[in-house]
Amino acid sequence: MAKEVTVTAEETAEVKVKTPKEKKQPVSRKDMTKWQWTLKEIKRNGTAYALVAPFMIIFCLFTVIPVIVSIALSFTNFNMLQWPDFVFMDNYIRLFLDDDLFITAIQNTLIFAAATGPISYLLSFVVAWFINELSPKIRAIVTLIFYAPSIAGSAYTIWAYIFSGDSYGFVNGWLLKLNIIQDPIQWFRDTTYCMPLCIVVSLWMSLGTAFLSFIAGLQVVDRSLYEAGAVDGVKNRWQELYYITLPCMKQQLMFGAVLAITGAFGFGGVVDALAGNPSVDYCAWTITHHLADYGGARFEVGYAAAISVLLFLMSFGSNILIKKLLSKLGQ
């Protein structure tokens, strides 16, 4: 309702400007059907469409259409050579009933996502909140220290040396020296340690864009709100955080959550470099590995498409869910 009113107001304003020239047709929205109005608006905004078109075409071609095509292919047994046969739910049935490795992959992905997503999100916010009251120069330096690992490219391979399996690895060397262990531990080759270590490393490099967004968001919270809060009886920083800061940060929190969830489900690259591909006993095998295996190595494209559809649904679904939850914040 509100929208219609503003549009009409704008239209009348425009008509007023044009009156000297074209007095004959004082067209207002009331005289037209919805479609006529839309058509007229489309014609009037040719430039706008010209401006969005190049981006939207490339975006649709390489992001939107591939998702739709994946969904379609997931119901077929396409192998890149023959025309795809429609097999309905066979791929999905095979995934859940006849593919033990996929069950491992989905378990690992969920564990990774449940561990890295929320923790990196909280870590990003907590650190941003901690450094909010530092002086600008020190804050810039601390920001760099926490943000650097996420943009440092291959630097995370240092963890492979820190937790190297021989006695020259940093951790093994010292544990041996201090007689805590007698034989070196095969960190990334041991199913007990492999997953937790991969999670630690991915947390190490997870303070990225969301973190920056939180820092900037905290800076623009209106300071007078804090002062008003103090006068109105906010007793300590925790109450201030809960009653003032968090509600003001809602939009940044939403943006950060989207990035954290997407990152958590796309996880896999870190594992390859540290634990090898495939990892020992598939202990860190994720959906992205399974997908690359069937799509890239075996060319069972229909099956791989089904895997990618599930990955898409898990990531997208969690995003929608968290968005719903966060929108309740401060209400």
Binding site: A155, G173, G295, S308, S315
Partner: protein, 293 residues
């Protein structure tokens, strides 16, 4: 008023209701977490400066006693023995990064302007679609993308990397949000009434006002493309990237630990330096990054 009088004042700003215990606790936590973040990075740099005997010292030492640039010269020697001249890998990465970033910048700013400052039918669902694309990782569309690339005969060409980068959405999202809040509608409206065409308004009035957002988009796009490693689309050795070549050295095993650390240092210097230079602009853009319901 009594309460206001109790407020402590620090040099830079008024700070409210802060207990000393809380301050100390936060400082301790921050130092612990900072150490967890910083020490591995420092270890990479220190390892790259260690001579061979110190890399194999037992028990392992964190610090370096006789720093040397030997590892870096080893790295360059290894680079020269590669099959394709190393300058070619660097050229590939620079080409991909520059052309990819430039295209993304131009297309994104055009689209961001239209999406934030012009009202037209379809605008809202277009932006919804872009926000949705942030909600899943690229792997989810990789299979169909591969089919598309083969249909376009773009496999084993630069196009397969560069063109999709033009349609990357994070930069557009950030720029659209920034334009929405920092370019005032009144200014644009008065320009339009003065007879400025939409294109002119965009180029001459809106674009100069959103410099921080450009810079942020450039940094993000460049960082992403700079780190392009081995790709399923590229199999010719002479089209592969710098990051791929470096990763080949990294995977050379434990004997190359020194050179590998040097390679990591070389790879991380560029994105970190770029961030340091543009930090204040990026933070300004991030202040408007929030997502509305």
């Amino acid at each position: 008023m009594a309460k206001v009088a109790k407020l402590r004042t620090r040099k830079h700003a008024v700070v409210l209701n802060r207990s000393r215990g809380g301050d100390t606790g936060i400082a301790v936590m921050l130092i612990l977490m900072g150490a967890f973040m910083f020490l591995p990075m420092l270890y990479v740099v220190l390892n790259s400066l260690k001579p061979l005997d110190e890399l194999w010292y037992y028990p392992p030492r964190f610090y370096v006693v006789n720093p040397t640039f030997q590892n870096f010269s080893d790295l360059f020697r290894l680079m020269n023995t590669s099959w394709v001249p190393f300058s070619r890998y660097l050229f590939n990465t620079l080409l991909i990064s520059v052309v990819g970033t430039l295209g993304n910048l131009i297309l994104s700013s055009m689209a961001a302007y239209a999406l934030s400052k012009i009202k037209f039918p379809g605008r809202d669902w277009m932006f919804q679609l872009i926000v949705m694309s942030l909600m899943f990782s690229a792997q989810a569309s990789a299979i169909a993308n591969f089919i598309l690339m083969s249909a376009l005969h773009w496999i084993d060409t630069y196009f397969a990397i560069i063109i999709p980068a033009w349609g990357s959405t994070l930069g557009l999202y950030l720029m659209k949000q920034f334009m929405e809040s920092s370019v005032s509608d009144a200014v644009l409206e008065s320009a339009r009434l003065d007879g400025s065409s939409e294109l002119n308004t965009f180029l001459k009035i809106a674009m100069p006002m959103v410099k921080p957002a450009w810079l942020t988009l450039i940094v993000y796009s460049f960082q992403g493309l700079w780190q392009t490693g081995s790709s399923i689309y590229i199999y010719s050795e002479e089209l592969k990237t710098f990051s791929y070549a470096i990763s080949q050295i990294l995977s050379g095993g434990i004997v190359r630990q020194g050179a590998a650390a040097a390679a990591s240092v070389v790879m991380m210097i560029v994105p970190i330096a770029v961030f340091v230079v543009s930090q204040s602009n990026i933070m300004e853009t991030m202040a408007t990054s929030g997502m509305k319901d």
